[in-house]
Symmetry: C2
């Protein structure tokens, strides 16, 4: 059963499994305090953590410092979420002697933590999608012991973050074994295969994500696997929007493409614009202000360099901003943004070379002839994506212009293939809020039923259990009539069933 | 892409895919009316449908007639669910200039239908888990075009049910292509593999369920697959419960084991009782009243016969009620209940032969010595189960007896491995209500995040989409400030984020 684990991993997984019942039973306020303590400790350690992160990732101090704040805010939001208790989806059906199908027992349902979960962290967000990032926050908030697989791009930072977090959890009285950090893909795979591990989370490439998802699905007892993978985030910009504010759109686009050197899963990889418009020129004018930026690691830099050459070499592609990449003596690549334009016909002809994600500061303008059915382009060129964006004019936003039906069709086409549809904005900011949706159909994620950002992320690590005619003394607190935790409870009273469907005849 | 589909299947899948946008856009009241019309039509056709079902399945008229009612009630409940709109989990975060992480845009999130879904129907519930059963009801209520794969055990009934449903849907003005019936496992597999199909549902054996789940997971674009598979539903009965009401427990147990000839996924396959108690004798006394019952089909009968012999032949197993099975000239098997008893030691020694599901009216009493750690038996003997049951005395239900801690540990152990924990009842009734949970960890289901009975089942066929800064004219109705559908909306106001986590320091 556990033959493939090294003694060290065996100790970690058995500690996590042993901690699961006690961690699940921690009082919500207690668990919340521990999570807030982690947030506070990370912010207190910000200077030393950011210094390591800068060295290991090449990301800027401003970006990394903001990311620590985001990570801390995220942890605090999950602390509030777990104490609020709405995520438990507590449902109570009172017993009903007059039930439409005979006597109905008292049934009460709540979500319980799954048990130990492994989280594979990301390269491009060394804090917010890493050791104590959003996935870890939602796993701990759900009450599941957490095993994090560090990303090989920032091992020292991972260790330092783990030390800070482990101390805060222990000092807050959390059970031993609720949090471990491991290194190495082989170790991660071995843990993912272990029967005591109940779910996996991942942020990274399509290739690795699919590999891990397949492992999770093919275990003797399959487990859920939540992978957030690749995305090219198409943008559609109308002629009227360009006429209204070409300079603003150009500047927003360039900022979004070049931020964090384009190494964001929400970078706009494609913008569909009407041919012959003023946008390319506006982009060229806005371009002077972007300094070169180091890519995360030499492997990513090399792959970006190859991708960029392939795009520039595809028939009909012309550089709007050529940009470039140079390599330093350590093999690190330093890039400035590359923006190219191509006609829809040439894009179609070069689809295979062009449509893939370029992980770096490159984006492709596709110039569409008048009368193009924009809604049809989504299924023609793309699979699932994290985001899809529409820029329209003030008049078009009213839904009363001559092209209103086309715009509605385009919005529906985007909603059908992405997790988040944006209007007049840029996809690279992902607010951490209750309504956020960071997901999307394959290959944006391996599992499109949930989000990896925002409070809805917590439900990934829970499973529903119903209690039938349970004595009050043996019910979970969230399901008790006295509701000692004060959580929202949906109640189905007796006598309702006779009316079911009658309103809709 | 669709090379493996026959022309007939290609026509069905493309009709379903073409119908998806229009069906998703039907007004909730309109879709609800259509679903209620299906319910009404099924009840109107009850006499002819039950007659076919009796012939094809061998189930009794009373059972089948009740099942039609259940199926109709279930459809009406989903009609109410979809109009209520709470299942949409509509969330609105208002824009917030003072947000903790910088300006927050307006973000609104709702669940949208997945698109075409295939539902593989069950043998043992020719109505309630078949053509218009619970899975079909939740798929249609969610707004997803439905392709049902008929079970080979009742093809004529499936065709008759499909005619009734298709007429009602068409007469209610639903788009063409929203419902199709297909026959044959090969056809089902071909449809499950088709890239236009977005999810699968299944009720049946572990073997077939796993096969289909693996197909869904290994597609180029994997899709969710919700299989409800096998379960043995362990029961634990305390000494005090037996002392209090042995005859009542004996009679309830026998009724639950023998109902529908034991061919229910919630049949109690094992009851753990204290050794030396009065229950076996009480069961023997209660046993005279059970007439023989035809098993669903010759294949199931043969496999039950073999299973029963293996159980009876396992060392240390003694018959409490021997029961039996005889075969008629058509190969049909007619069974009466078999109840056996075995000591915990012999159960442990014979685990491999004994612990598997017996699909038919057989159940095993396991006699445990005083002082047995009951909570430890669940992980020792069982994987995931649909249900786990505890019978206790009135005094034990107060949680104040000397064994209260052991009982709590047992309830926690059950909750950890099953979808529904019952007290002083029998698992074979599954009420169709908002709080119901019909699921459980592998191999009870392929996917433990959801239920296949009750209104929570609808979320299986939906995916979340967020709209960022969307103009009102382009927002789905459920997310509009004017809330024309009157659905529940969770609202996050501006200004809240500064306080996050502050209460839990």
């Amino acid at each position: 059963m556990t033959e493939s684990l090294t003694p060290e991993l065996e100790a970690i997984v058995s500690a996590a499994a042993a901690a699961a019942p006690a961690f699940a039973a921690t009082a919500p306020e207690h668990r919340a305090r521990a999570i807030v303590a982690v947030a506070d400790a990370l912010e207190a350690a910000k200077p030393e953590l950011v210094e390591i992160a800068m060295r290991e990732t090449g990301l800027t101090e401003a970006r990394l410092s903001g990311e620590v704040t985001r990570t801390a805010v995220q942890l605090r939001l999950f602390a509030d979420t777990l104490v609020d208790g709405g995520y438990l989806d507590a449902r109570i059906d009172y017993a009903d002697d007059d039930f439409a199908l005979g006597v109905r027992p008292d049934i009460r349902r709540v979500l319980l933590p799954l048990g130990p979960v492994i989280n594979f962290s990301a390269s491009n967000f060394p804090f917010a999608f890493s050791v104590m990032g959003g996935d870890s926050a939602s796993i701990l908030a759900a009450g599941c012991p957490l095993i994090v697989k560090a990303h090989s791009g920032h091992p020292e930072l991972s260790d330092a973050t783990a030390r800070v977090a482990a101390e805060a959890l222990a000092a807050s009285g959390m059970p031993e074994g609720v949090f471990h950090l491991i290194h190495g893909r082989e170790a991660g795979v071995a843990v993912l295969k272990d029967p005591r591990v109940q779910a996996g989370a991942f942020t990274g490439s399509i290739g690795v994500g699919r590999l891990l998802a397949d492992i999770a699905a093919s275990r003797p007892a399959p487990i859920p696997f939540f992978g957030e993978l690749g995305s090219v985030n198409p943008v559609f910009i109308t002629a009227d929007a360009i006429a209204e504010r070409a300079a603003e759109i150009a500047s927003g686009y360039l900022t979004s493409v070049s931020g964090s050197a384009g190494q964001l899963c929400t970078k706009p990889g494609f913008a569909f614009i009407p041919e012959g418009g003023a946008l390319p020129e506006a982009i060229l004018e806005a371009a002077s202000e972007f300094p070169e930026h180091r890519l995360l690691d030499p492997r990513i830099a090399k792959s970006y360099d190859e991708r960029r050459s392939a795009v520039l070499g595809s028939p009909g592609v012309r550089a709007v901003i050529e940009g470039g990449i140079r390599f330093d003596e350590h093999g690190h690549g330093w890039a400035t943004p590359t923006i190219v334009a191509v006609s829809l016909d040439d894009f179609r002809a070069g689809k295979e070379a062009l449509v893939e994600e370029s992980f770096g500061p490159l984006s492709i303008l596709v110039e569409t002839p008048e009368g193009t059915d924009l809604a049809a382009l989504m299924p023609e060129f793309y699979e699932g994506n994290l985001t899809g964006t529409l820029h329209l004019s003030a008049a078009e936003a009213t839904g009363t212009t001559a092209n209103a039906a086309e715009l509605r069709a385009l919005v529906a086409a985007l909603a059908n293939q992405v997790g988040r549809v944006l209007f007049n904005g840029w996809s690279t900011g992902v607010a951490v809020t209750p309504a956020q949706q960071h997901g999307g159909p394959w290959p944006a994620t391996t599992n499109d039923s949930s989000t990896s950002v925002g409070t809805a992320a917590i439900t990934r690590f829970l499973r529903p259990v119903a209690y039938q005619n349970a004595p009050a003394a043996l019910l979970p607190e969230a399901l008790q009539d006295t509701n000692p935790l004060g959580v929202p409870q949906s109640i189905a009273a007796a006598g309702e069933s006779r009316e079911w469907g009658s309103r809709w005849r």
